[in-house]
């Protein structure tokens, strides 16, 4: 069941992104979509709106890049509770650390191992 919900929620988030790309002028590139979704996810999360989506959708809400924003926001909020002002700076990046490190390590490894095919 949770797999079906992940499919639906994840699919819907992507569908919204696709509509934004197709229905707005050409200037909206994939980079803009990623930036928009990460900040959007963080803001929705801080407002308490993304959490419920994660409850329903599981990976369907955490795997889209908006889930990364959610992760950053929640990490920050928790760290502010625990450590105060210092947490505002360290919390988000700490929470996102695993994903970022994985992206850098795997990104670098793949770049060393493979050549683009064109």
């Amino acid at each position: 069941m949770s797999i079906v919900m992940a499919f639906l929620i994840g699919g819907l988030i992507c569908l919204v992104g696709q509509l934004i790309m197709d229905l707005t002028p050409y200037k909206v590139t994939p980079a803009h979509i990623l930036v928009g979704f990460v900040t959007g996810g963080a803001i929705l999360s801080a407002l308490g709106l993304y959490g419920p989506l994660v409850k329903i959708g599981g990976a369907g809400a955490t795997i889209p890049i908006s889930g990364f924003g959610h992760n950053l926001a929640q990490g920050t909020l928790e760290a502010v509770q625990a450590k105060g002002l210092l947490g505002a700076f360290s919390g988000g990046i700490t929470a996102g650390a695993a994903g970022i490190a994985a992206a850098v390590i795997f990104g670098f490894t793949m770049a060393v191992l493979f050549n683009p095919r064109g």
Binding site: P30, G60, I65, A73, F89, A98
Partner: protein, 170 residues
């Protein structure tokens, strides 16, 4: 179109350089031209694209959910399982990019393969591979963050702002 094919005697008043340039130019009303171009341009297939983004984005998410379930059943708590899933998904995205498969998925899926974290990995690996010929410092390492850099910059800015707001509202 000025009909300046035949020179019918000298002009009464010599034109200024700016006027000559203007007369030379075949000018188009930019808005009217844009309308003409828009009437000719093929539209993106909005419905087909949206459906493809939906099912492919959904499938990537469903796969991630399966991986999460495997991790939780192996005894990880929800948060660690989510982190581990992210790492696995980043690996999958990076690996498929290395194999030259992810861009083929992207042609069909559009946002369906950009928005999932696998797309974030793709946006890191694609330039890193591409610019390997420019060296490991200015090529791979510098170009790696072409798209991922802005994502991290704005993600961090927003998260710190959220933290500051939360701190001062407390």
């Amino acid at each position: 179109m000025a009909d300046n094919n035949k020179q019918a005697g000298p002009p009464k008043k010599p034109l200024t350089l700016a006027e000559q340039v203007k007369q030379q130019k075949q000018t188009y009303d930019q808005q009217a031209y844009q309308r003409l171009a828009d009437s000719v341009k093929p539209r993106p297939r909005v419905v087909v694209n949206a459906l493809n983004a939906f099912w492919i984005g959904g499938s990537i998410s469903a796969l991630a959910q399966v991986i999460t379930l495997v991790f939780t059943s192996a005894g990880l708590n929800t948060r660690d399982a989510a982190s581990a899933t992210v790492i696995i998904m980043v690996f999958i995205g990076a690996f498929l990019t290395g194999l030259g498969i992810y861009d083929e998925i992207g042609k069909v899926a559009g946002a369906g393969s950009i928005i999932p974290i696998t797309g974030f990995a793709n946006s890191i690996v694609a330039p890193a591979m591409e610019y390997k010929r420019e060296g490991f410092v200015f090529g791979v390492a510098a170009r790696m963050f072409n798209i991922a850099g802005p994502v991290l910059v704005y993600g961090f800015i927003v998260s710190v702002l959220i933290g500051l707001i939360a701190y001062f509202l407390k």
